[in-house]
Amino acid sequence: MKTSIEFSHKIKRTQEDWIIDTVVYALAIFIFIITFYPFFLSIVLAFNEGKDATYGGIYFWPRKFTLDNFAELLNDPAWGKALLITVLRTVLGTGITVFFTCLVAYGLSAKNLIFRKFYMGMVIFSMYFSGGIIPYYMVIRSMHLTNSFLVYIIPSALNTFFLIVAISFFQDIPKDLAESASIDGAGELTILRKIILPISKPLLATIAIFTAVTQWNSWYDCAFFTQNKALRTMGYLLMSVIKKSSMSQSNMDSYAASVAGGTITTVSVQLAAMIVAVAPILLIYPFFQRYIVSGLTLGSVKG
């Protein structure tokens, strides 16, 4: 065996290897730069004085460091309120989605459930086919969810994709565990709470993380299902700022237009808002990224 390894070492570095390694590493560095640099530059620009930034030429470090952009943002009651609503919907929405998805999945994972085929058919049908946005809006409206905080939480309480993932996860848990507990006198709820959920922590973490990110980022429901100013989310406010400045993009002055006559511009506040919107994701990213791969491969099991 040893000789074959040595042999492979000897023939390893051919000209082809050199070329491929160069291309591969160059591409890897290029990919790293294009994904990382926009975030980096936005952070740099958000900490720079807005007026100063309009002269351009800032690529790697703030020229005139300031926290004014963030102060302006947090002093604006609309943004403060939006931040609160967003945090609230993220926390509540995530909790409720995890709760309902697990509960329903546990029920559906029981092979002897009556009408199981029918329920599963409904779930799968709704995953592949949707009536479109208008019928969806009609349902929301007729349930009086428009202009209410609940529109952020109730429609997403059951996530069909994670439901299917959770069902296959629960079915992989050995039956003996649940059986021995039920012999000891545990009811279904106790089994779920004391036995199934503790060993399903990776699954729960995956569902929670993906739901939380979706909730945090969403702007769509706020933009189309509510008119109530008190319910604006971060995503929506950002969206409207971006839409507004995209409309006035044609004249260059709009970029430099000051908000309060100080060193702040609309763009620098927009940048600060973007940083606030991205920061939580960037901060928890190192912790949740080990669940990302598992989440994706869990999902592909059903294929």
């Binding site: 082809e16 351009g56 946005i133 189309f224 409309m247 927009q270 990213y285």
Partner: protein, 273 residues
Amino acid sequence: MAFKDYKISSGILGIFTSGWVGFKYFIEFFTDYNSLGIIRNTLVMSILKMIFTFPLPILLALVLNEIKISPMKKLVQTASYLPYFISWVIVAGFCQIFLQSNGVINSFLLNLGLADSPIKFLTGSSYFLPIAVITACWKDMGWWAILFLASMAGIDLSLYEAAQIDGAGRIKRIWYITLPGIRSTITVVLILALGNLLGGGLGGSNFDQSYLLGNAGNIDISENIQTYVMKVGLSSGRYAYAAAIGLCQSIISVFLVLTSNSLAKKFTGDGLF
């Protein structure tokens, strides 16, 4: 609802009580003077995104798979799927800040003398599609690469050793071992992508891109079926008409999933269901 003369004032039950109008709204949409442009925009955008967002994750996974320095591989991979977790709103914000007339890209081009005056990336219709395709690749490439990379990790290492002893170079090993090894994953992802072709394929949402990056300057290219449904449905209140257009799209999507699935079964022997 798409086949009915529905008015919002009659409430949810109005769906059942209002009169049938048959295919009236479908005919109206297909004979509308600008529907052709909207359908064309949707198709062009979807197909362009498909062409670029489908092979790139495979390429990225191959590149990552060839990196032997483990921390570097991890760093690049982690960075590459970070954009998947930020919303299109933020991506649109990036576009706006970097691409505006005195943004980074323009000042870079001016400094290098590649452009005489700032290029109006955001309002020119000819720039919308490239921006949409590039941002779609940027955002979702790393995400799908995870799947391909996971599947590459499952390939038996002895195959590579055997090939190496037989004198196969790196390219040959990639071509004859790695790619066939992830064929079933490619099939599954392709079916998923085709099923969501009109919604944006692997490259995120067509609606988000068109809605956020679209403006009066590029509406002739950026308006697609989804934004149009939103416009006539929720903004102009023509619910039944908009529902009819939305239904067309859903039916096409289901048809695409079923077709691509059966084609995949026929040619590669495995499908999604």
